[in-house]
Symmetry: C2
Subunit: 432 residues, 2 copies
């Protein structure tokens, strides 16, 4: 034991979870689990440490090295603390590729680390819900994951005034750009790259770049118009393309199932240009003070490519950070008082009553499913009451020598401050 006094701060960008914090986390992870399991999604997980290779294979050496915590282990292997789940789940699926029951409906709530400057809503250690369907190429899977995202927000008590799912389709995006610009696929790709950077450059250089690719002012205006179109008008611009048909099918089902009030077509949703290949979506917080994309996802074609040659498993899914969800719930007042309504009994003690009598009461309460604790240690009665109040106990049981003689206890309800004298053999009835 060294004599130096060490810092009590958690490592930069990480959090300590005291019991009140932890109760909140368990509550919301529990709700997420129940919501997804009700839709037959199954939970999985993988290790915190992975070979650095898999992040390099996905994102390139520079990004992988920069964004992960990585180091050489004693065997000289480069390992990283996972910064995201997709490479892990790709590995996990690839390892048993031939045995699994497709389509997989999977979710996970792993903790992960990203090496970044801690700032509002961006921590170094965070938890991320990952929901995916693997092995189904058609819009039904897209619909299923979007529905799961809506369902879990509804499970928390959110409604259509609080969030909106903005949906686009990357095939449609490519096809409609090709249709408007009249170029071939390669030409459309170059135009897409300019459009992808639209929000990052000023209007003048945006137009200049498109002019250089041969687009007229009229064509640019047609592209501009897409951003305010509804899905029917937008898809009418290239009705026979696969992308347009996927969008039409998806929105048709959203309409018929009553989910369309949570959704909107948004041509501005593009996401990673080289990664997503079909439906893409982002869920926006509708609170005026917090209006921004909370999380998103989409369809990608080749999950297992880096692990298996000549095998193709497609995926569609999303990832949602715990900090984002927590801030959404707090903004909209959707976090209840988790202590309220819970029965939690503190059995106080006096030195002149045999200790085993208190232990027996606690045991009886627990046997009947009532959360109970004896006050461990022996302090003055007032201190024990303070302990109960500070510890969110709902009731205090008091048995001095006179109550003990008459085989009864005083029960004090800490919310109403009412006291009742209850016979020991009626104790559990009092709480039921």
């Amino acid at each position: 034991m060294c004599a130096q006094i060490l810092s009590t701060q958690p490592y930069k960008g990480t959090r300590d979870f005291y019991p009140d914090d932890m109760r909140l986390r368990n509550w919301f992870f529990g709700k997420i689990r129940r919501s997804l399991e009700l839709s037959a999604y199954e939970e999985y997980n993988g290790p915190m440490l992975e070979s650095l290779d898999i992040y390099i294979a996905k994102s390139g050496e520079e990004i992988a090295n920069k964004q992960t915590y990585n180091f050489a282990d004693r065997g000289g292997r480069m390992v990283a603390i996972r910064p995201e789940m997709t490479p892990s789940v790709a590995r996990i699926v690839a390892a048993k590729m031939g045995e699994l029951n497709y389509p997989l409906k999977w979710f996970s709530i792993p903790n992960m680390y990203r090496y970044e400057r801690p700032q509002h809503g961006r921590l170094r250690e965070f938890w991320q819900l990952n929901v995916d369907i693997f092995g189904c190429d058609t819009y039904e899977a897209d619909l299923d994951v979007i529905e799961s995202a809506i369902s879990l927000l509804l499970a928390f008590g959110a409604d259509e005034t609080m969030f909106k799912v903005h949906i686009n389709n990357r095939r449609f995006f490519n096809d409609v750009i090709a249709a408007i610009s009249g170029t071939d696929a390669e030409g459309a790709r170059l135009v897409s790259k300019v459009i992808d950077r639209k929000d990052k450059v000023d209007r003048e250089s945006y137009e200049k770049d498109l002019h250089e690719l041969g687009l007229s002012d009229e064509q640019i205006a047609k592209i501009d118009a897409l951003y305010t179109m509804n899905v029917k008008d937008a898809t009418a611009l290239c009705p026979d393309t696969i992308g347009a048909q996927e969008l039409v099918s998806l929105f048709d089902m959203l309409d018929k199932t009553g989910l369309s009030k949570y959704c909107v077509f948004d041509f501005g949703i593009i996401r990673g240009l080289d990664y997503y290949t079909g439906t893409v979506f982002e869920v926006f917080d509708e609170a005026p003070e917090n209006n921004r994309a909370m999380f998103g996802g989409g369809r990608y074609d080749n999950l297992v490519g880096m692990f298996a040659k000549n095998a193709k498993i497609s995926g569609v899914g999303y990832g949602m950070g715990d900090v984002t969800l927590e801030s959404f719930l707090l903004t909209h007042g959707l976090v209840p008082d988790l202590n309220e309504g819970e029965t939690k009994v503190l059995v106080t003690r006096f030195d002149d009553v045999p200790y085993e009598q208190y232990l027996s009461i606690v045991d009886t309460l627990r046997q009947n499913g009532i959360t109970a604790s004896i006050y461990v240690g022996s302090k003055k009665f007032g201190k024990q009451i303070d302990y109960a109040i500070k510890g969110h106990y709902s009731h205090v049981l008091i048995m001095g020598s006179s109550e003990a003689e008459s085989a009864s206890v005083k029960i004090k309800d800490l919310s109403t401050r009412e006291e009742s004298l209850v016979a020991l053999d009626k104790l559990c009835e009092y709480f039921n």
Copy 2:
């Protein structure tokens, strides 16, 4: 995306949790949580990464460096992936020392890494239940944590033939050694060090070492006798010492509360010689083929010393690894078939029935709390049935065009293979 094909193996000493594995984990972590919460223990957690300093302060530089995954971050700070929870919880308690509500009854189920050669029951990544009471110096807290360990094994269906809690007391150990050897505290400490190594050396050198410290054959025989004594005879050797009195009080309460059938006094339980200061215990698996200490713990005096000068908070608790518990439950046949008895409905689909009709059925089932999924994608009926069987679905719903016309569905119970034709508006009644 690089062209190289990567390994699908998880990192050495870690595990992937496929849905079946994960269901088992969630089941047993859930049982642990419920059992501890019923006794008013509260869950907390901390970050995976901690400053390496806190492990060096506890265990010394050599052990800390050898047993942890540690590395310098980009700011030059030495960080470690937590290999145990005690230094973290000490830091967490110390950070809010003046605000907390003592005695704290806390537990945690963190994942952690230890750098060691993977072998049976020893993995590099594992989860460890930590249960502690902080801030109560008397035997009541020792009793409470021992009771919590027994309760959680009982919650899994274990009984007294399957496990036994071996209990000793380090104060008693020191006092009785001093009483037998007739030496002062320092002399007793030297004797204790020899006894602590008893199982690691042969009998001859054990006796030689004790002789060198001045003990006679008669005194050595007295020490030998302690290993087979019951608590009453053992404590009678130095009845007025605090250690003996703590043991007597503890075993008296274990008797009076009916817990003594799970417990036994065992002078052979010493644990870390420099760490524990009072009650110590180990829980043994009683299966003949697996008879060994599964987990243990005890009382230690100074939790927060490395973080706060002049502050003393004592603790008593234990840590239990997930692999150990899992192997205990499997050995004793205490893991039920987690799929059995669960209702999980797959709605199959045909192309000639509008898809929204299937979506509406799924929605109705979920609204009534029944786990349900539509078959996403469109494959032949036989493939959809295979999917249901392999995916542990309990029921399959079949609605072809003729059933759709009569607003009914066929329900096939996959366990009994019975089929029923049920009107759509009686669907939920069928399952309730």
